[in-house]
Symmetry: C2
Subunit: 387 residues, 2 copies
């Protein structure tokens, strides 16, 4: 049976990997929607290959270009934020939510509210609006299938299990490129050092998040929303080789783990094929070749981001959205050479401390928190730069 | 709801661990049957505590003792092989098959034929009569719940998955106490060295099997019967710490693993509570404390037992029963100081080479193969001793 896929963020890394899998198993899928942020040429090329009903470019100024690029194909060309939401409301068996950043929030929520199962690769939307999103999924009956390798691992370890029989969820963390570096040396690291992730090839933003361990903190927030076992039952374990993607310990002290090569097509395929599995062209795990796996407790003195995230989700309300927005601004400032590496997490902390607590009850609230937190972070960045 | 448990082999290690768990969760269980091989005093003590309908002592000469020990309790006292089979046919929600050795085969088969779910800790019965046993389970609808930590791990990793979507099953092996020893040095090891297992506290027989890696070979045969993915899809991986109890790799190259402390109550509880889980008093796994896990490919030159087992199950029929019987005799001879450590596996190989191939179609056939293989092994042992 052919399943219908709507793919949001087709030209990014997760989008390309998704289409690689769909391409290899063409009989199983028909693509209804393809979207991209601003790369009209690539979107049009993919649309000509996968023949969706509609292709959407988020950047409204490029609507004309897209219309032109798809002329004669019969594929509708749309543009802008509202068009993304409309596309997310179209009937589909699965929505792959792979837009990066807060821009993915509105279409992802629209798909969930329409009751469509969502493969969620858009971390920021769950971090910023996790309570609204999981409440909407409960109401509509949509299943959220996590694509992040750690959360997908947990999801797999919970298959056949019951969440009320979970004793602990253990999120593994590579520890990033500065795992063994002293705090003093970290004050002098460059953007080039920070984006060189030891295990995964990723974008600059998430590589820096991995280096600060903010990425693991954001994943802690995600895990809290996806797997409601209680915050004190979710732990972080540093595992430099990133072979074990996460673990679930049950009340009988039996622990299940999911392992794999560092290839995003593995968790993507898991979400695409769920509750079945599909063959992938990924490399099987060779544990004898890897020879050794290491583990250590996280050091929250040198890496304070995870404790900050834990406090933010414990306080709840707008805190995680404030944290996420401030972090995006601070990481961009670090990558631009404007602030130091330790100033990233300092900025986030200071934004949270300076913003009022509140409980967002709508996407509008979330966007407004996001905007004011970004502005506050920008001010702090300017102060650092001129300090 | 109270579930009814029949426990075969109550005074052994698995039996005691089972009763420890039942004792802690008394509301959940009523015990219908308790059996022991020859320890009347301990059996009577346990019977007075757990109040089964019937207690059976395998050694018929001790029937009178047991009757006397249970006088006035209202608990029926029985003895002998036929009484064990009759007890296995009594209605129960679960039979724990924890008799050691071929003596466990007849009652285990009787329970399976009666359609009762069996928690199987009796490795030898599955090795010797795996085809008869799994055929009987398919016919009666009984589920075989493996208690061996490796097979229980695989069983857990298959929950929620489909066996036709399995790419590989990876049985982990500690490698035993002689993992890094040269072949020459192995020729001189003593029984005391062989029974000192690095990770698990076990009986002498299974400790020697672990040292020769025959234990892993027997587990390969077990796994082949329990998880019919094809023999070439079952691999062995040496993992000295025995923290990962086994792994299942799916067609998408996602690998699930079960991990735990070396406490048999974990897999026993898994079988008892299946498809749910029950709390245990076991130590949670502390990976940060363990710090490091190692893996290496098995060395089938220094440890030829696993290849021998693979060949035996590939040929099928009576071969695994011949192998198991010869191994029991050879291990006993080694423990008695009559043959060298390398002579254990040599004896097994020579027994198999000297016995005719055949396909057993009944338990009677199995017992007859077992007896003739033991006799052949005994002859070889005598020759070694006088060589």
């Amino acid at each position: 049976m052919t399943r219908r896929l709507s793919l949001f963020g087709a030209t990014g890394s997760v989008g390309q990997s998704t289409l690689d899998l769909v391409r290899r198993d063409g009989e199983a899928w028909s693509v209804g929607v393809l979207t991209a942020n601003s790369d009209v040429a690539e979107l049009a090329k993919l649309a000509r290959e996968f023949r969706p009903d509609v292709a959407v470019i988020a950047d409204e100024t490029r609507h004309g270009e897209l219309v032109e690029a798809l002329a004669g194909t019969g594929i509708a060309a749309a543009a802008g934020a509202d068009a993304l939401v409309e596309a997310a409301q179209r009937p589909a068996d699965l929505v792959m939510a792979a837009i990066v950043g807060i821009a993915g929030l509105a279409p992802t929520m629209a798909a969930i509210e329409a009751g469509t199962d969502v493969a969620l690769a858009n971390k920021e939307s769950l971090v910023s609006a996790g309570e609204l999103m999981t409440a909407a999924a409960r109401k509509s009956g949509a299943t959220i299938l996590p694509v992040d390798s750690e959360h997908n691992a947990i999801f797999q370890c919970l298959a056949g299990g019951r969440i009320d029989q979970v004793r602990r969820i253990i999120l593994t963390a590579s520890g990033g490129p500065f795992r063994t570096m002293s705090g003093d040396d970290m004050a002098r690291v460059t953007p080039a050092q920070a984006v060189a992730h030891p295990n995964w090839s990723m974008g600059a933003k998430i590589s820096v998040d991995s280096a600060t361990m903010m990425n693991k903190g954001l994943e802690l927030i995600e895990a809290h929303h996806l797997f409601p076992v209680g915050l004190d039952r979710i732990e972080i374990l540093v595992h430099p080789q990133s072979v074990i993607h996460s673990l679930v310990e049950y009340i009988d002290c039996s622990t299940l783990a999911q392992l794999g090569s560092p290839d995003m097509r593995i968790p993507i395929s898991s979400a695409l094929a769920w509750p079945q599995r599909m063959a992938t062209p990924c490399a099987p795990l060779d544990l004898a070749g890897i020879a050794r796996l290491d583990f250590q407790a996280p050091d929250e003195v040198r890496f304070p981001a995870t404790a900050l995230c834990r406090a933010a989700i414990a306080e709840g309300g707008a805190r995680p959205a404030q944290l996420n927005a401030a972090n995006e601004v601070a990481v961009a400032a670090f990558l631009a050479g404007r602030i130091s590496f330790p100033a990233i997490v300092d900025t986030v902390r200071r934004v949270i401390d300076g913003q009022p607590p509140m409980v967002p009850t709508s996407l509008h609230d979330i966007f407004s928190v996001d905007a004011s937190s970004r502005a506050a972070a920008q001010l702090l960045v300017d102060q650092y730069e001129h300090a």
